[in-house]
Amino acid sequence: MAATRTKPSAREIFTTLEYGPVPESHACALAWLDTQDRHLGHYVNGKWLKPEHRNSVPCQDPITGERLAICLQAQAEDVVAAVEAAGTAFENWSGLPGASRAQHLLRLAKMIQKHQRLLWTLESLVTGRAVREVRDGDVPLAQQLLQYHAVQAYTQEEVLAGWEPMGVIGLILSPTFSFLEMMWRICPALAVGCTVVVLVPPASPTPLLLAQLAGELGSFPGILNVISGPASLGPVLASQPGVQKVTFCGAIEEGRALRRTLAGKGAELGLALGAESLLMLTEAADVDSAVEGVVDAAWSDRSAGGLRLLIQESVWDETMRRLQERMARLRGGRGLDGAVDMGARGAAAHDLAQRYVREARSQGAQVFQAGAVPSDSPFFPPTLVSDLPPASPCTQAEVPWPVVVASPFRTAKEALAVANGTPRGASASVWSERLGQALELGYGLRVGTVWINAHGLRNAEVPTGGCKESGSSWSGGPDGLYEYLRPSGTPARLSYFSENLNYGTFGLAVPSTLPAGPEIGPSWVGQSPGARATLLWALATALERREAALTSRLERHGTELKDAKVEVELSARQLRAWGARAQAQGHVLQVAGLKGPVLRLREPLGVLAIVCPDEWPLLAFVSLLAAALAHGNTVVLVPSGACPIPALELCQDMAALLPAGLVNVVTGDRDHLTRCLALHQDVQALWYFGSAQGSQFVEWASAGNLKPVWVNRGCPWAWDQEAKGAGRELGLRAARTKALWLPMGD
């Protein structure tokens, strides 16, 4: 705006007191592009890879349209080369002592600090985001991530004993996600000893720059490889033999498609989907501060998505007035201007926002736009949508950047119902000065992160992730590390994909003998961990009372008497072990730069369906059940098909001891039951121990509500071994994390 006018004199400005341009020089970004002759390829194995005969796309300044560079598009063979390089590097890198990896990560952090200006100007130049946010937010956080994970690498042998790095990790980023999202994921992966291949969208120079900075450290060239290419290469990367895990950051529907494509393929899939957030403003809130929270969430270039805003009816008018007043003072403009709140996000984001707003209007919504923002594309003004009918399609859809959709609620209970009534569950903030109310809402929200009286705070030490359709992949904190670890001794993941599996008919060979959906009782979330422990111990005692009967059942099934005895004995022990662990969950994090604690909570998944293996008919059943119950889940179990009787005997005791509906045991055709459970939208997680085909089906079908699934891929397990039957992996998978931020001060 101001930049296009002729420069006003001090005398004129004295009268208008307007803001002037504060351009940040991007000469260093251009100079770096020049070192590549404005021709970017891929960065693989510590070298630039610029193969011939490839398509290329221009990398443009999103605001001026000026062509900054040409970017090569990868093809399948480039992906193969990158995965090979990462595989070779893994041999060395994973064998290093943690202390050496820590050193290397710290050197990379220093490297970033040395080139920080290049990093923030390049990122702001090519993405159009406000340079202030990249400079003051992203770049320091990228360094902090490396430093935090260096410490984790240093203590790995001690703290993470019994776990080993997975291997080569594939990371797929979609265009709306910044280089910081890449840092959140490569840092833990590299720290624990994995190596990474990142597939970035065309024309994303910043990840390439980071790979170059890592490569120039010299010692371990292949640990971070970045290739740039179209989204269609995602499945190619994911199904490369050797890739053990794929993390995908992108849109929900893309994640769903990838989940289906990767069913039965080797790699495990972690999803971090969508970018929408939620803000709940109660009548007990400091409304002005909450309005700043809305600005942080939607109009400050911090988040890639929009915001759903729930306002208590009694403060609706006051809040809307303050919001509109505040919006008028927002400034938009070229991202490289140091005094703008919002930059631009490119034509795609602009069109998405415009489509959404047009749709909302046509469905009867009120749209308010304000702020000093250039009127031409790709700029889009801060937008506040209200009066959107609750049942309209727009209310259900994900809110795009930079739109805020406000809707009223009457009571805190209703607010929770509305907030939890969307399929997404990434992050939310609660604004209330009443401690009791704030905590009630914070605990009740089904999301990965909750901030009380703040929005959008992030820290390397705090796990960040989501639930429901936002995907259950975590980054940061201890949870981020476990994403790239597996229990020591686990065989490498190979593809077990079967072409012959017909998803449409799997499990339909036997006519249905059971109701389509299981009858689910209320969860026992309200029960204290102590009460859960007591019940599990009581169940163990009941099981011991049946020892003779259970042993003979197992014997009749063909188990040796000695083994049968062991199985019954171990089963009782598992119940007690998990009962004891029920009490020790979650902990408090102290975070640098935040006054007040962050609680890392471990919450139940909800309804957890478990298809038990045929082997160890009692022990496997009890182990899985105990872990699930200890974490507060409601369970639907399908017992061993070959020998269901011991499990059913135990059900008699459970009926007497446990609340009705907490444990539901269903028997029948396993494939059919698996089908029902895997396709059930209200089953929040599924563990499957059965055939390879069943595993593949479960992975495919889980795309429906993107429930986390855990399958054995047709391989039998040694349930009598501590690591399997009572291992930490079981505990990790039986609950989900929530980070609850509690800033304090008076």
Binding site: R11, G20, E292, R329
Partner: protein, 355 residues
């Protein structure tokens, strides 16, 4: 930025140069009552405790906002120079020392009349704007000296006097009121009173309201600036409540601090006071001014204060009628920055006249 503020209102350096410039109400877009020069002092509102009873300020959130404001808005080059000159017109040039005598008061008043070297202003084409500070601010016993000195300098800017047992306010109400009357008699047209912190800390809001009402009355035609001494109020919620009470009782300005407390003008406190001013404006239609004081020493700080007011209240408040900065050494740093902007060199101590 917005067209409606490009009117004559701001061209006149906010009317600070001529005493008694009556700003027609049409210049105020809302047509609302504004305190400040030429306008009648603020009429008190009836005490309404429901305006403060529910209010809770979230301190960590306000702290975050305070950090952001400083990082999000900067001005450079011509803009910086213009903003700094504007900041000069907001300054209450202050000396509040035990060793003040008529000679340094006289020097202060001349500096108030000629805040920036003439040749520097000429280069910026600002010499004909009649640039002065907004007022001078002294102890009651020095009001006569200041009035005399300003008259001798041919300058019509107001003299502000602190009063009511400044800085602690721990004297009898009777003597505090008498102090105001005497200062007004001596020719002070603005009175900076300190509130009784005891009343805030013990939650005696009615008593606080009554006291300030009496200050208001004692001021007569003079303008009342109420110092909240926020460093001693204990919490931001108390700052909000005390601001609201002071405005209801008829203050023309609310002021952060005396400059004598250990914690003076800070951004978090300012944000809370500015929000209270906005709430009061929305409730009553009356615009009350804001004066941060104490610890504002650098030109850079002053720019941050300007943008803070611009962001929280808007351009309408960026006039000496509604915004003041209480400072003593700030002016010389601004002059030094202007010198650098004009000449490209840093000024030596002797390059700029002392105040």
């Amino acid at each position: 930025m917005s067209a409606r503020n490009r009117g004559t209102e701001l061209d006149q350096v906010g009317g600070a140069t001529e005493e008694g410039v009556d700003l027609p109400s049409s210049l105020h877009p809302t047509g609302m009552h504004t305190s400040g020069f030429g306008c009648f002092p603020m009429e008190p509102e009836a005490l309404n405790l429901s305006w403060i009873s529910k209010m809770q300020v979230n301190q960590p959130a306000v702290l975050r906002r305070a950090q952001q404001i400083q990082a999000r808005r900067t001005v450079k080059k011509e803009w910086q120079a213009a903003w700094l000159l504007k900041a000069v017109t907001f300054i209450d040039l202050t000396t509040l020392s035990g060793d003040d005598t008529s000679s340094n008061i006289q020097r202060l008043c001349y500096k108030a009349k000629y805040p920036i070297r003439e040749d520097l202003l000429k280069t910026l084409n600002m010499h004909d704007k009649g640039l002065t500070t907004a007022a001078v601010c002294v102890y009651p016993a020095r009001v006569c000296d200041a009035v005399r000195a300003l008259k001798a300098a041919g300058c019509t800017i107001p003299v502000a006097s602190v009063a009511t047992g400044f800085p602690a306010g721990q004297t009898h109400l009777k003597t505090r009121l008498e102090e105001i009357r005497l200062a007004v008699e001596d020719g002070a047209t603005e009175i900076d009173v300190v509130i009784n912190r005891t009343l805030v800390l013990t939650g005696q809001w009615e008593a606080l309201y009554d006291e300030i009402r009496q200050f208001r009355k004692a001021c007569g035609e003079a303008h009342l600036k109420t110092i909240l001494a926020t460093g001693e109020l204990g919490s931001l919620t108390n700052v909000y409540k005390a601001s609201m009470i002071a405005m209801m009782a008829g203050s023309d300005f609310i002021k952060t601090s005396t400059g004598k407390e250990t914690v003076n003008a800070t951004f978090p406190v300012a944000i809370v006071m500015l929000r209270a001013i906005r709430d009061f404006f929305w409730k009553t239609g009356n615009k009350v001014g804001f004066k941060p004081a104490g610890g504002i020493r650098s030109a850079k700080d002053s720019l941050a204060w300007l943008s803070l007011v611009k962001e929280e209240l808007g351009d309408e408040w960026l006039t000496p009628d509604l915004f003041r900065i209480g400072a003593s050494t700030l002016l010389s740093d601004i002059e030094r920055q202007i010198y650098h902007h004009v000449t490209g060199r840093y000024a030596a101590y002797h390059d700029l006249p002392m105040s």
